[in-house]
């Protein structure tokens, strides 16, 4: 009798585990399928920076309007909307939302400028960074920034 009870219990437990496992597996699978389907068909978001290898195959986007996620900028949140025709982006619209924190903050620990009349050359040995418009095309070589860097080394 004891043996039969034990066998029955073991059987019940085994069956339960199998059903559980099946449900878990099935549930997960159907969940995944649903996610993929919803992003492929209704697609409220197009974000393609890091696609997993499984989805990296070129999905063919249906014609329509796709809205990206909002980005916070100093001048309010923006959301970019792309109009897609034949898999290509034809138009981009920018949606804007007010952002209460969009005011420019004071730059922290900023001192008033000292001008060249105040014998700035003498102090330039202490300067670490130079802001200017000239370096763009000639590189830092020969610039004041370069000279200061060499003095620093």
């Amino acid at each position: 009798m004891k043996k039969i009870t034990q066998a029955c219990l073991a059987l019940i437990v085994t069956v339960a585990i199998v059903i559980d496992g099946y449900l878990l597996f099935f549930k997960n699978r159907s969940g995944t399928v649903q996610t993929v389907l919803s992003s492929a068909s209704s697609s409220s978001t197009v974000s393609a920076t890091s696609q997993s290898s499984a989805t990296s195959k070129r999905q063919s986007y249906q014609n329509g309007t796709y809205t990206g996620k909002a980005t916070a900028t100093r001048w309010g949140d923006v959301q970019v909307q792309a109009v897609i025709k034949a898999g290509k982006i034809t138009t981009v619209n920018v949606l804007k939302y007010p952002n209460e924190n969009a005011h420019d903050k004071e730059v922290n620990s900023q001192a008033l400028p000292v001008y060249k009349s105040e014998t700035l050359t003498k102090q330039s040995a202490k300067i670490q960074l130079v802001s200017g418009a000239s370096e763009t095309y000639k590189g830092f070589k020969g610039s004041l920034q370069d000279a200061l860097d060499q003095a620093e080394a």
């Binding site: 001048w75 620990s109 700035l120 960074l129």
Partner: protein, 248 residues
């Protein structure tokens, strides 16, 4: 602060020099190789995606109407959004759609520096690995310091008449500075008025994207219109055609 170490590194990316400066606190060691590698890779990738000179870049694909929906990356969206906003708030003085073609080049460098700073340098300041850090990309910079340091960045503004001289100097903790000029840029900025024309504009802001957009806009707008539009919300050094500082 006397024993802290100031290290200077150069990165070549986007066809221009980037200067990375870090201050290592007293008694700490910091190996910069990995940081520099990450910064270089980041800037090179931004160049691949946003260069107007690479036919394969996302920007060029978009200009040709060939950008696939899959390549409409979140970064591409972000830059597009910022460029459009910049045009709006500067009353069109900053124009990423000049000639009817989308070209965000004017903001990409500033945006990339600011994002690189936030991603790779700010965490090292927050956890006090570094006392101070700065990225200077051909004259436009984002700088920062840790909470406990008394270090301040000594920043000079170049004199447009004599490039070996400084016009002004600032002390900065956290913030950004951008300078735009006319003599070096091949006059690609379209000026909107003849009054109060500027040969150089330097703008300070907390973020480089903001400073960069407004420095560019100032050259296009001239001092009077720039001041009206910005309502003196920024610290600036505006230099007129006679090498006079007209606004600070």
């Amino acid at each position: 602060m006397t024993n802290s170490k100031l290290l200077t590194h150069h990165i070549k990316a986007m066809g221009m020099p980037f200067l990375v400066k870090i201050v290592v606190p007293v008694g700490r060691n910091f190996r910069a190789e990995r940081l520099l590698q990450e910064l270089t890779q980041y800037l090179q990738r931004i160049d691949r995606d946003f260069s107007p000179f690479r036919p394969s870049s996302l920007v060029c694909q978009f200009q040709r109407g060939e950008l696939a929906a899959m390549d409409f990356t979140s970064e591409f969206q972000e830059v597009y959004g910022i460029a459009s906003q910049a045009q709006k708030i500067t009353g069109g003085a900053f124009d990423p759609f000049f000639d009817g073609t989308y070209d965000p080049t004017g903001i990409v460098k500033g945006w990339a520096i600011q994002r690189a700073f936030t991603r790779y340098l700010q965490p090292l300041l927050t956890n006090e690995t570094l006392a101070a850090a700065a990225i200077n990309g051909a004259g436009d910079m984002q700088v920062g310091i840790s909470e406990t340091t008394d270090f301040r960045w000594q920043v000079g503004v170049e004199d447009p008449q004599d490039r070996q001289q400084l016009l002004a100097r600032y002390q900065l903790g956290n913030g950004a500075m951008a300078t735009s000029g006319t003599s070096q840029h091949g006059e690609h900025i379209v000026r909107q008025g003849s009054q109060c024309q500027l040969q150089q504009a330097t703008v300070l802001a907390d973020e480089l994207i903001t400073a960069d957009v407004w420095a560019t806009a100032a050259i296009a707008l001239g001092a009077a219109r720039f001041n009206r539009l910005t309502n003196n919300q920024f610290s600036t050094i505006l230099v007129d055609q006679t090498d006079r500082i007209v606004h600070e």
